[in-house]
């Protein structure tokens, strides 16, 4: 195999495509024609199984969900109606869920980015034993969010949890705070748990971006007497913009879809203080069996995600 590869490689070098001057001109031309003719359909044939499967397991259910959202709830007769959406507009719990979702996504993404950037900068420093710090920094992101939710739920436990234990040790009087049962504290507590879980991923991407910035730029800046802040402002920030865009886009998408963490921490409670839309929709589907109404909620969620993320998809496609 290897020998064959080498032979092919050396031949490819001898008759490079697109240069008729060197090598065997006839062969080069012939293969060029060959390539043109197979180019059109072969590529599509390669992509076809993937596209078909996605159409079947993703496209079809998505279309069914949209269609469902326009049919009357609990009805055998499939007629077109906007009832689900008009009901949605008047549904106070839906608006509360939407608000909780936006707060959850906005805060977690911002904090992931801020913390991720700070830690990435620290990990980019020239420090002994950096590999160990690096492993520790990524660790929270490696475990399933379901498990993060479980662990943090126990940490927040009013009597047996470690957080109130530390508050007690620090001398706080009567620290038996009901972190996850308090209407005001529940959402921030869930957000903190998710920051712990999610920031390492953003950090990982930003660290890769930092390491892609040529060292010479910093050396040159240092020779010119630039301060650390100036270096950050004029070298690090411009060099990192693209990675920040990618990290933000992926993180926003994932955070809108977050389910397991909150499901295991609060199931949306107390009341609906932490009731992010995926949880509310799941409940409408499989607790109340309001399939049509749940579909309408899900369509709104998907629409929000699509509107926010279109620039990201366009950027990624354009770049390739």
């Amino acid at each position: 195999m290897n020998r064959r590869l080498r032979r092919e490689l050396s031949r490819a070098v001898r008759t490079p495509f697109g240069s008729e001057i060197t090598g065997n001109m006839n062969q080069s031309l012939a293969s060029k024609v060959l390539f043109r003719s197979i180019r059109l359909n072969t590529g599509f044939a390669f992509a076809l199984p993937c596209l078909l499967l996605l159409l079947l397991v993703l496209g079809l259910p998505a279309i069914m969900a949209v269609a469902n959202s326009f049919t009357p709830i609990w009805s055998e007769v499939k007629t077109f109606t906007l009832d689900n959406y008009t009901k949605l507009l008047q549904d106070k719990t839906f608006w509360e869920s939407l608000q909780v979702t936006i707060i959850f996504v906005a805060y977690t993404v911002m904090l992931h980015l801020a913390l991720g950037l700070v830690v990435a900068l620290a990990l980019n420093a020239d420090i002994r034993g950096i590999w160990l710090f690096r492993i520790i920094a990524i660790l929270p992101w490696t475990i399933p969010d379901v498990i993060s939710g479980l662990v943090w739920r126990f940490m927040y436990d009013p009597t047996a949890g470690i957080i109130n234990y530390f508050l007690d040790r620090l001398g706080v009087q009567n620290p038996y705070i009901e972190w996850l049962a308090h209407p005001r504290l529940a959402l921030p507590s869930v957000i903190l748990a998710d920051v712990w879980r999610g920031y390492p991923f953003v950090m990982l991407i930003l660290l890769a971006g930092l390491q892609a910035i040529p060292k010479e730029l910093y050396e040159a800046a240092r020779v010119d007497g630039a301060s650390v802040l100036q270096e950050f402002r004029h070298i690090t920030v411009p060099g990192l913009v693209r990675m920040v865009q990618v990290a933000l886009a992926l993180d926003v998408i994932w955070q809108f879809r977050r389910f397991g963490l909150v499901y295991n921490m609060t199931q949306g409670g107390p009341g609906n203080a932490t009731d992010i839309l995926p949880l509310a929709i799941y409940r409408q589907y499989f607790k109340y069996f309001n399939f049509e109404y749940a579909s309408a909620m899900a369509v709104v969620l998907a629409a929000i995600m699509i509107v926010i993320s279109i620039p990201y998809v366009r950027m990624m496609v354009k770049r390739t």
Binding site: V13, A47, P61, T142, V146, I147, L150, L204, Y282
Partner: protein, 287 residues
């Protein structure tokens, strides 16, 4: 004034302050990141009584592996573990094979609608799982795949395939096109050129993609919750979630189960972190 002499100490001092700052940040990171892990581990080594002690203890007074044996012997946990393994492995293989083919098509051929299809594959991530669960549940029930491994595998593929296709396209892009040209000239079919020439070169990337898809499936809860019924088909994430919503939560057992379910993930993610970043940000940084 001799600038040459003052310049040295100034830069050295500057370097030191940033280094000290980096150390401070990283030690803080260690504390924040590790505390939940330590608590998870220490709870899993406690007895039931100690886990509920008021005030709680940080380290177990008498470490015991009882919770681990209980979770393995008394609960259906080994079965969950096996289910997760089968489903995640199936998902990883399916989405990597299809993703590699699609990635090759997108990377090497300029067919009509290529950009549109690539955009569509990427945009499928924008369809949240909760949009699909209802209709997908009905479809699976209609074709008799509800509560089967295959049904789960197909569902997880909706999450993993877009990533796999894009990651593998990124890896294939790094292989010089001349290599498959040469194979074609030698009489290989396009598929032969792909499997014999390109695949061996991107083998590490393939492994990374397989592992990533495996872990995405392993960690998901929503689909496992919706597409299975009964305890025998539950995956690890679902099994643990059921334990926590029970009337009485047995924390040492739950944390022991969490430790067992986390260790494979930690090991695999740490092993492939570099590939992962490359794959997910493919195209974002010019090589």
């Amino acid at each position: 004034m001799r600038p040459g002499f003052t310049a040295m100490p100034v830069t050295r001092r500057k370097l030191q302050t940033t280094t000290v700052l980096a150390y401070v940040i990283l030690i803080g990171v260690c504390f924040f990141n590790l505390l939940p892990f330590v608590f998870m581990l220490s709870t899993s080594l406690k007895t039931d009584q100690e886990a509920y002690a008021i005030p709680p203890t940080f380290w177990p007074k008498q470490a015991t592996l009882d919770a681990y044996t209980q979770v393995i012997v008394w609960t259906n946990f080994p079965r969950y573990f096996m289910n997760s393994t089968i489903v995640s492995l199936g998902t990883a293989l399916l989405s990597t094979v299809l993703g590699a083919l699609a990635g090759y098509g997108f990377s090497r051929f300029n067919f009509r609608g290529r950009g549109l299809y690539m955009g569509l594959v990427l945009a499928t991530q924008l369809l949240p799982g909760v949009l699909l669960i209802g209709p997908y549940f009905k479809l699976l029930a209609a074709v008799g795949l509800y509560n089967t491994y295959l049904g789960l595998i197909l569902a997880f593929t909706t999450i993993t395939l877009p990533f796999s296709a894009w990651m593998l396209k990124g890896f294939i892009d790094t292989v010089p096109e001349e290599m498959d040209h040469a194979a074609l000239v030698d009489g290989c079919t396009p598929l032969g050129a792909f499997t014999r020439v390109v695949l061996p070169v991107i083998a590490p990337g393939m492994v990374a993609t397989i592992v990533f898809a495996f872990l995405l499936a392993w960690g998901d809860l929503l689909w496992a919750l919706v597409l299975t019924s009964g305890d025998d088909m539950a995956m690890v994430t679902l099994g643990l979630s059921r334990l926590v919503t029970q009337f009485r939560i047995v924390w040492p057992q739950l944390m022991a189960g969490s430790v067992i379910a986390s260790v494979p993930c930690m090991v695999l993610y740490l092993a492939l972190q570099n590939y992962l970043v490359k794959g997910l940000t493919a195209g974002a940084v010019k090589e």
